[in-house]
């Protein structure tokens, strides 16, 4: 009978072997896919077990996890809505967005840089505390930009040209992240639905994402840069000065804004055309350059490229294959050119920084709970789209735009301000998109800005970039210069 007993034993060993294999399959081979299954709430509970790190602006937390007497033990507390577009939200039920999402691995203490902390935590049984993320934003400039925008819809970006550090980033309308950070499903879900279904898309940071905007005349900076860099054109290159211009191959007539010619005389220089922001010379220039050379310059300046600041930036767009008439329209930023406010701020910053475009950056430093510095991004050159000489010419023309041209409302007494306005058309009767981009002081730039105001600033087709966007940019630049 002992033979049978041994065989029964063998059968049991085989059965247990099957269990060992199954357990290994679940806990090793399939562990990751099971853990990340959307129905597995452990991952979201897990993030609440550790005290999530704060996000700081000027050394002061603008969001932090405070102790809270429920199963999650902490609640996320957002200090001010003015940072909402940048910080985003971290919700149990609606996912996460903004830096809360982009910096999640650091904030939650799960980044690979915190490996040794995690090992320590495993040994002493205490959970890892999330790292603190210090932003490049300046609270005063952010506040100035927020206040200057008032109730208008749109976005403001301010960059330090030498370093790419983002000093202010505002998008309006925005949301209250505290409403999404609650621990009860119903109110959070209701708040999320209201925001999500709002036509103004308050959950989207329009400074870097969303549907982007037609740039209108601010795109003339890119076209001028392409012209100067081509070697075929100088600021003194002359174009025919017409009152109306029929686009090549069509019967469509275009006009300069205001409907007159670009100053007096039979011809007009590129310089005057830019200072007065005339459309007809730029349509001609665009056709002489051709879409390929404009697109090449746009791409050098960051169009079409993925960018992480570390928020994900929607790439700006220059049309793929425009015909001659369409190319002429792109010369003054119409047709299908679409840009983000950040992209235009980068263009101004590159001009301000003598042709060198720096990588925009929102994160100043990431510091672990044990005060180890986990990340300390150095300023990084993104590209050199234009020569120092071209940058100088563009600066002079932009200063003239503010001092004698159509961007006068951006002027700050005692400083040379460089700027360019834009008033983009979105359709025959749709309100304009109003733009300003520029920098100050022109001789030693401290800040480059881009301002976009949607819906014509509330006055349809009556507003201009100079009238509505330029004063906002002025307020932001003044806040920097006053510091």
């Amino acid at each position: 009978m002992n033979r049978q007993v041994r065989r029964v034993g063998l059968a049991l060993v085989v059965m247990f072997l099957a269990l060992f294999l199954m357990a290994s399959s679940i806990q090793v081979l399939r562990a990751d896919s099971l853990y990340s299954d959307s129905r597995n709430v452990r991952a979201s509970y897990e993030t609440y077990k550790t005290q999530r790190g704060p996000i700081l602006v000027g050394g002061v937390p603008v969001v932090e996890s405070l102790p809270y007497n429920d199963a999650y033990r902490f609640i996320r507390n957002y200090e001010s809505v003015i940072y909402s577009p940048v910080i985003g939200y971290f919700s149990l039920f609606s996912g996460s967005n903004g830096l809360e999402r982009a910096m999640n691995s650091y904030l939650s203490g799960q980044s690979s840089a915190q490996f040794f902390e995690q090992i320590n935590a495993l040994l002493d049984g205490k959970p890892v505390i999330g790292a603190a993320v210090e932003l490049t934003l300046d609270p005063d400039i952010q506040r100035a930009a927020w206040d200057a925008m008032g109730n208008r819809k749109g976005a403001v970006v301010a960059i330090e040209p030498k370093t790419g550090r983002i000093l202010a980033m505002v998008s309006k309308p925005t949301f209250d992240a505290n409403l999404l950070a609650g621990h009860l499903y119903e109110p959070v879900n209701d708040a999320y639905r209201v925001y999500d279904e709002d036509d103004d898309q308050p959950l989207i940071n329009k400074a870097i994402a969303g549907d982007l905007y037609h740039p209108g005349s601010v795109f003339k900076l890119v076209v001028t840069a392409a012209a100067l860099e081509s070697g075929q054109f100088t600021t003194a290159t002359r174009f025919r000065n017409l009152k109306t211009y029929t686009l090549p191959g069509t019967t469509t007539e275009i006009r300069n804004s205001g409907g007159s010619s670009c100053g007096r005389g039979e011809t007009v220089t590129l310089e005057t055309a830019l200072i007065k922001s005339c459309n007809i010379p730029f349509a001609m220039l665009a056709n002489e350059l051709g879409d390929d050379r404009i697109r090449a310059m746009a791409e050098l300046m960051g169009f079409g490229a993925d960018l992480s600041i570390p928020l994900k930036v929607t790439p700006s767009y220059y049309p793929e294959d425009p015909d001659v008439a369409q190319t002429a329209l792109t010369g003054f930023g119409q047709f299908d050119v679409r840009v983000s406010p950040l992209q235009m701020a980068m263009v101004s910053a590159a001009i301000a920084n003598q042709g060198v475009m720096m990588q925009p950056q929102l994160v100043e430093m990431v510091v672990a709970a044990n005060l180890n510095v986990l990340q300390d991004p150095e300023p990084k050159v993104l590209s050199v789209p234009i020569s120092r000489l071209s940058a100088g010419y563009l600066t002079r023309m932009m200063v003239d735009s503010v001092e004698v041209g159509v961007a006068g409302r951006a002027g700050i007494s005692g400083y040379a301000v460089a700027g360019k306005t834009g008033t983009a058309q979105n359709g025959p009767t749709d309100p304009y998109t109003l733009w300003f981009t520029g920098f100050a002081p022109a001789e030693a730039p401290e800040v480059a800005v881009a301002v976009v105001v949607e819906d014509g600033g509330g006055i349809g087709q009556n507003g201009t970039g100079n009238q509505i966007a330029a004063p906002i940019a002025r307020a932001v630049m003044k806040a920097v210069l006053d510091k």
């Binding site: 009978m1 007993v5 049991l12 269990l19 357990a23 679940i26 806990q27 990751d32 299954d37 129905r39």
Partner: protein
């Protein structure tokens, strides 16, 4: 030939385990320490401080184990030295996990607490095991009452299907209840069945194994001798229908097949029996909704349909999520979310252990079971009389099969059943039956060495 020397060295090493009670005492001390550390870790991780209640959860089970230990010193001094520490270890891990789940339940304001009860029931079960060892110094007395045991088993099996006292949980009618007190008689029935089969087969094994005609390579027994197989098969299928639980019928039928095989050495019975069982299960899965739902959930636990279905795979999927969270080394006691798995304190306690102790913990628990079973089979091997061999093989196998069916169900290897995890799960009948089973193994091991000596 280093290969053979290695493989032969392991059994030799295991044979070398002393049967001295002092060795057992050292192991019990060690396991008691594991229980104390586990409880302390649970309290520190969940409550962030230690509480005096730890002593209660530690002292009572330790007291029970010591009670058995001292009874063994008096009445069965040369019993196997590993069985008691292994059973105590498994019982302790169960208590620690149930206590941990209680703390999570209390934290969310729940009142479904099990740990206090489990600790008292463990003590009672161990006291009864001590009593069994005290009262049954020689297990051969059991051989005198095979039919009494058989009838007793049958009555216990039918009880839950009776009106008034029968209780149904999660679709399976495995409980009887009087007021708040519930009991799962099938757990005790498995021991009685093993006694019955052992007694019956010892007297019939010759006719079952030798008479009959040869067909192909197998010797087919006479219809008359095949009769009992059919009777037991019908009885287990009856259990399946009445109690709506596949696991219980697999357990009893499997026990019967293994014991008849051990008695006769005829693979024919196993072949025919497994075929009949599979056929029965397949037919049942077609005929009965509750069986077919279990099959669907088993085949694809993560499909949204099964996940959402009432009585579907939600529980199994949660168990898989939990085990995945445990990874290799586990989230640590108090560090995971085993409270998210429904019935984590009973049917799914293995998944809860898998989440917090990881693959390493699952391996350790399964290895403890395997070692316990191995000790049982070793006793069977060393015994000279057939009744003892059969009974011990039956007891060891039924324990192993139950672990296999439960663990297989929790991990999605087999369809889910209503069986409990021996020693680990919350529940008195399971503790009582398995401690009684251990008591029998200890008594039999004692007599085997006495005879050899």
């Amino acid at each position: 030939m280093s290969n053979t020397s290695l493989t032969s060295a392991i059994p030799k090493l295991l044979k070398a385990v002393p049967r001295s009670r002092n060795f057992e005492a050292v192991l019990l001390f060690w396991v008691s320490g594991i229980l104390a550390f586990a409880l302390a870790q649970v309290q520190l991780a969940v409550l962030q401080k230690m509480q005096w209640s730890l002593l209660f959860y530690w002292a009572l089970p330790t007291l029970g184990a010591l009670l058995i230990h001292f009874v063994l010193r008096k009445r069965a001094v040369s019993a196997d030295g590993l069985i008691l520490p292994l059973a105590f270890l498994l019982n302790s891990l169960g208590i620690a996990m149930i206590y941990r789940l209680d703390l999570a339940e209390a934290a969310r304001g729940g009142t479904a607490l099990f740990a206090d009860r489990q600790v008292w029931l463990s003590l009672i079960a161990m006291a009864i095991a001590a009593l069994v060892i005290w009262l049954v110094p020689n297990h051969l007395v059991l051989r005198r009452f095979p039919y009494l045991a058989g009838i007793g088993a049958l009555v216990l099996l039918i009880l839950p299907a009776l009106p008034v006292i029968g209780r149904t949980r999660n679709g399976a009618t495995l409980w009887i209840g009087i007021g708040d007190f519930t009991f799962q008689p099938g757990e005790i029935a498995k021991i009685l069945l093993a006694i019955f089969f052992a007694g019956y087969l010892v007297s019939r094994k010759d006719s079952l194994s030798e008479i009959g005609s040869r067909v192909l390579w197998m010797r087919v027994p006479r219809a008359k001798d095949l009769g009992p197989v059919l009777v037991v098969w019908f009885a287990t299928v009856g259990v399946l229908v009445l109690q709506r639980d596949l696991g219980t019928s697999i357990l009893y039928f499997g026990l019967f097949l293994v014991m008849i095989y051990t008695a006769t050495g005829r693979a024919f019975y196993v072949g025919v029996g497994v075929t009949m069982m599979l056929t029965g299960a397949l037919v049942a899965s077609r005929l009965f909704d509750y069986v077919s739902r279990r099959f669907d959930s088993w085949l694809d636990p993560l499909s949204q349909d099964n996940y959402n279905a009432a009585g579907g795979s939600y529980q199994l999927a949660q168990a898989l999520f939990g085990m995945a969270n445990g990874d290799v080394i586990g989230a640590g006691l108090g560090g995971g979310f085993p409270q998210l798995i429904p019935l984590a304190e009973s049917d799914f306690i293995l998944a809860a252990l898998g989440e917090e102790l990881g693959l390493a913990g699952i391996f350790a628990v399964l290895a403890a079971f395997l070692l316990l079973i191995y000790r049982g089979l070793r006793i069977a091997n060393s015994h000279s009389d057939d009744f003892s061999k059969l009974l011990t093989t039956g007891l060891a196998f039924v324990l192993g099969l139950q672990v296999f069916v439960v663990a297989g169900g929790v991990m999605g290897l087999l369809p889910l059943t209503g069986l409990t995890t021996p020693f680990l799960a919350a529940g008195g009948s399971s503790l009582l039956a398995n401690w009684a089973l251990v008591a029998l193994l200890l008594v039999i091991s004692d007599s085997s060495t006495r005879r050899a000596a």
